[in-house]
Symmetry: D2
Subunit: 350 residues, 4 copies
Amino acid sequence: MRAICKMRPETGASLETLPIPSIGPREVLVRVRAATICGTDLHIYRWDEWAASRIKPPMPFGHEMAGDIVAMGEDVTTLQVGDYVGAESHFVCGHCYQCRIGESHICQNVKILGVDRPGCFAEYVSIDAYNAWPTSRDLPPAVAAAQEPFGNAVHTAFSTPLAARTVLVTGCGPIGLMAIAIASATGAATIIATDTAPHRREAAMAFGATEVLDALAPDVIDRIMASTGSVGVDVLLEMSGNPAALKQGFAALRFGGSAVLLGICSRPIAEFDLTNTVVFKGANVQGISGRKMFDTWYQTKRLVETGRVDLRPLITRHFPLEEFETAFELMLSGDALKCALYPHGLDGAW
Amino acid sequence: MRAICKMRPETGASLETLPIPSIGPREVLVRVRAATICGTDLHIYRWDEWAASRIKPPMPFGHEMAGDIVAMGEDVTTLQVGDYVGAESHFVCGHCYQCRIGESHICQNVKILGVDRPGCFAEYVSIDAYNAWPTSRDLPPAVAAAQEPFGNAVHTAFSTPLAARTVLVTGCGPIGLMAIAIASATGAATIIATDTAPHRREAAMAFGATEVLDALAPDVIDRIMASTGSVGVDVLLEMSGNPAALKQGFAALRFGGSAVLLGICSRPIAEFDLTNTVVFKGANVQGISGRKMFDTWYQTKRLVETGRVDLRPLITRHFPLEEFETAFELMLSGDALKCALYPHGLDGAW
Amino acid sequence: MRAICKMRPETGASLETLPIPSIGPREVLVRVRAATICGTDLHIYRWDEWAASRIKPPMPFGHEMAGDIVAMGEDVTTLQVGDYVGAESHFVCGHCYQCRIGESHICQNVKILGVDRPGCFAEYVSIDAYNAWPTSRDLPPAVAAAQEPFGNAVHTAFSTPLAARTVLVTGCGPIGLMAIAIASATGAATIIATDTAPHRREAAMAFGATEVLDALAPDVIDRIMASTGSVGVDVLLEMSGNPAALKQGFAALRFGGSAVLLGICSRPIAEFDLTNTVVFKGANVQGISGRKMFDTWYQTKRLVETGRVDLRPLITRHFPLEEFETAFELMLSGDALKCALYPHGLDGAW
Amino acid sequence: MRAICKMRPETGASLETLPIPSIGPREVLVRVRAATICGTDLHIYRWDEWAASRIKPPMPFGHEMAGDIVAMGEDVTTLQVGDYVGAESHFVCGHCYQCRIGESHICQNVKILGVDRPGCFAEYVSIDAYNAWPTSRDLPPAVAAAQEPFGNAVHTAFSTPLAARTVLVTGCGPIGLMAIAIASATGAATIIATDTAPHRREAAMAFGATEVLDALAPDVIDRIMASTGSVGVDVLLEMSGNPAALKQGFAALRFGGSAVLLGICSRPIAEFDLTNTVVFKGANVQGISGRKMFDTWYQTKRLVETGRVDLRPLITRHFPLEEFETAFELMLSGDALKCALYPHGLDGAW
């Protein structure tokens, strides 16, 4: 089969021919219909410090996908050949403390698809049956694949009530935009979004923001205060990983507010005033990693399958697998939200 | 001034002329623009057992209203003459255990407007400044008045997360319909509503239900199970006060689900299987009384002022104060959702 | 091996000789050191309506036990032969909605040890490795076995905060006494316990109650009100399954209080005033089934292994397995809290 | 009357003679029996940067006290002359957003006793009736006074469940020690405490810590991991305000753990790795300010009046008011936990 691989510890990737993966007794083999590209894949493609420390070439990568089950291990009883599935990308141990108390999304021995085991930018991929998520055929494959990153946004947005609240979303990349869409679909009263890029601010309005602000404007905090009756926002959803945006978000948070943090800062924050931004404010801060298994997935399914959130506008472009370089370059340029790769033809693209 | 009064312990009411109420140092006098009729007012009008035990005639009644502040006591500093306000109808003591720990909605010494103190079916009414709720003039007076019962629905619906959940609303009277509208505005995935009356089921669809069922049909539970993948609903919002509906609701609740109860049964339930409906199911049951002061009111304001919920369709008819008998009879007939009374003319009706 | 079996659909049980159980690839074989007798076992012994509807003779029963692993299936990787384990008695499917969202304690396809599969009143028992709970050898085997019912008490008591709260425990059987011990160990301010039996009220004081009341005394509610500043109790832990006690408990609950229900009523409650006891009170009611897997088990381990709760006084008598009839009769008489059976000699009894 | 005053913007304080305070209609005059010295008072005494920016001399300071009501304003109805009271030191506005939604402990217009209005290091002090907390005469006055800082510890410790959890307390000053006592009284399984001072670590053991560690030892994290089965602690209670201790605490927190922060850092933290300590860990962080009004006070009362926590060991020394300089110097030396001042003689000291 064909697969996009990181063959050597260096920038870039290549299309290789590999054997179709074998499967263990509790695994299933999925014929990949679409795989979407995530920021993590860009790190691997560019081969930055994080990638060099974590990825072991040669290996196919990619972790967001949807496809059809074509073979199953002998112990798999709850799925069928022919099922159309997305995938939870975290493969968990089941026996660490976190797994045993229902927090397997922060399993201490997690293996991630396309990071710690062979990924899905390929014609076929093997995954644990436990990680296969049956999906309605009403969802196009790129949307079904995007349930995985959307699950991060759902996990973030559902970590504190948003209905009738004032919400600030810092960072309007794909997951920030998803969070805006969720806040809108679940009844947030005010949804303020900040970003430095005009086209991302425009996208934020399209996804349901009630106000967008240039994160670099000098009066951001003043305008947020004006929009919230001088109280500040009830909720901060931090989706940027940018220290300046994060500090701005905490400054705009009301006394007693909740901050939910998904964005990843590439290094420690210089000069963080925890006392004034959290302690005196009586604020609550929740860090988010992964998706609750599988509570978040049910929430995801319901938001997407009922149409309360439409993920299609997030998929900017659709490419056959072999045009992966164009797709990666487009995403690296910042001009696309997400690109989808199709290993077996563009069936289901729109 | 003119006011609708219960003059004697008997059925009916009469339009009387009374002095304009005096106000204490922390009270405000409100010129009533609209007052809406609640089920409680029908109990008082009909003079049933509950009314006879609680109401002390002669007294003007009514507790849902909006109007303009025309005078203020000397200690009132946070309002102004001319402010347009709705009213929280529960006057709380401030010093009982519940008040002291932030649960004043269940104050042990509560006095209710139009029940324990003179009501608002009148040209003027005095209320504590504490109970006056400043409201946007964008809301017509009948809508501003209806914030009070809507607050009950908000308190109910916000007692458990509804976003991406499957929800059953038993009872499609005015507050049930409001709950449906809230569930829809806050992203519930499935909203099933039951009632015995076809026109209320139609209204439920208009307010956002995704499925309506005749509560008397033999296959109600089967159909709910079919709509929820044989799991049952995540959430029951019990708005009927009807024991049969309540039992049906508990039967349809999934293992681990949440029931929120606002409906009031007029007598104890003859046979209630708490063990199978709550204990074995690991279910959670929350009783609801009043509105959180004033968290619920902020939520109410935001849902209504942002347009996420439109309360206008709940007001079936608008009457000058003196036509109160027509209004009461219409509501007693079951053909109207809510009627509004206007003591100073129909300005603001639609 | 020897095992206590229900051989026919009738009262009683007999000591039989059976083959040592075989084990599947994910199971372990446990040499039982002690098994404790539960109320459920008494139902099976007496062969009441519930037992007749659920149990399929011939079958060994019993579901509370501790012992040593003597053999393991080939897929078991997280345990070792020689491990000393207790057992979670609920064998869950892992794929129903509840299991998938972390609520496997209310699995829709649960099989219970000694009820739906062969039990532990035997020299050996096979259980899923998943259900084996490694336990410190500092715990005597009867205490290690009693972690299972103690887990029910922990699940109940930990469902609402008890620290600095006023708590009423209705019913002072073994699990009620455990709940009292937990409330005491976790800082409840006032622990009132009710029962009809004087010796159980005495036991309640020994386990940490601050006040005990005869449930049949006419002034129970008055005395609870006197002990709580006329407020009522913050928390009701209903451990009796007796409708009169349950109603008394709800009557004593404060407005805004929490009721947690573990006791099982053998039939629906006649005349249950849900409106006054739950709705108007703004009360919260939580039904409890099983133990959270395995959050409750970690809590159990920590309470028992640190000595914060001492379970030894709950084990009234210790018997060799063959004296099971004496043990059952003693428990049926109501004169014992719990009895322990030892299939391989009384080693570890005290 | 005599009072300890900050007369000029400089180090130190002086004993002055002032008129007995007048009281407004909703205030009470308290004859102070004991007042305890807090870290905030040391800041005022030393006249550091914070004090210079906040305090307006000349003014008596002090905010922890207990005494007897000797006069009441005309609107006070819920207290009586002769009542023995402690005091909530936060005087709240009642009309900001936070006050209106039940979060008055973070009132946006708060005035603090002894900081923003004349304090209690005096023979008499006037406070709002709302802020007077009736206290059992079984509590000596220094203990009754110390309910205020103890309330901070209660608010911190009760912000996340501690029962059967592993807890790390960083910082063993008076409030850290109180937190340790609460964790012990409410059933924490493991209570690890860190401090740099040996005598504070000794005190921590006396207050209920199960293990103490020198915060400067190189193996602190290793030892915490060893004591928690390599998992890390469930809960961090940060009571030091020291950035190094705070970072150590976050490093020791388990994935999915909860950090509650009361300690105040005097400046922003130089390098804070929010991503690894909070985001990837899925940790929850709660900032604490003040005491919940008055839920925390009821919890405080119950812990102290039932004897579950004994505050007497926190009061190292008792002084007549005029010996305040000795008391301040003793506390500044770090050799005392808390000192109490008695304006009317040492009655009630021990």
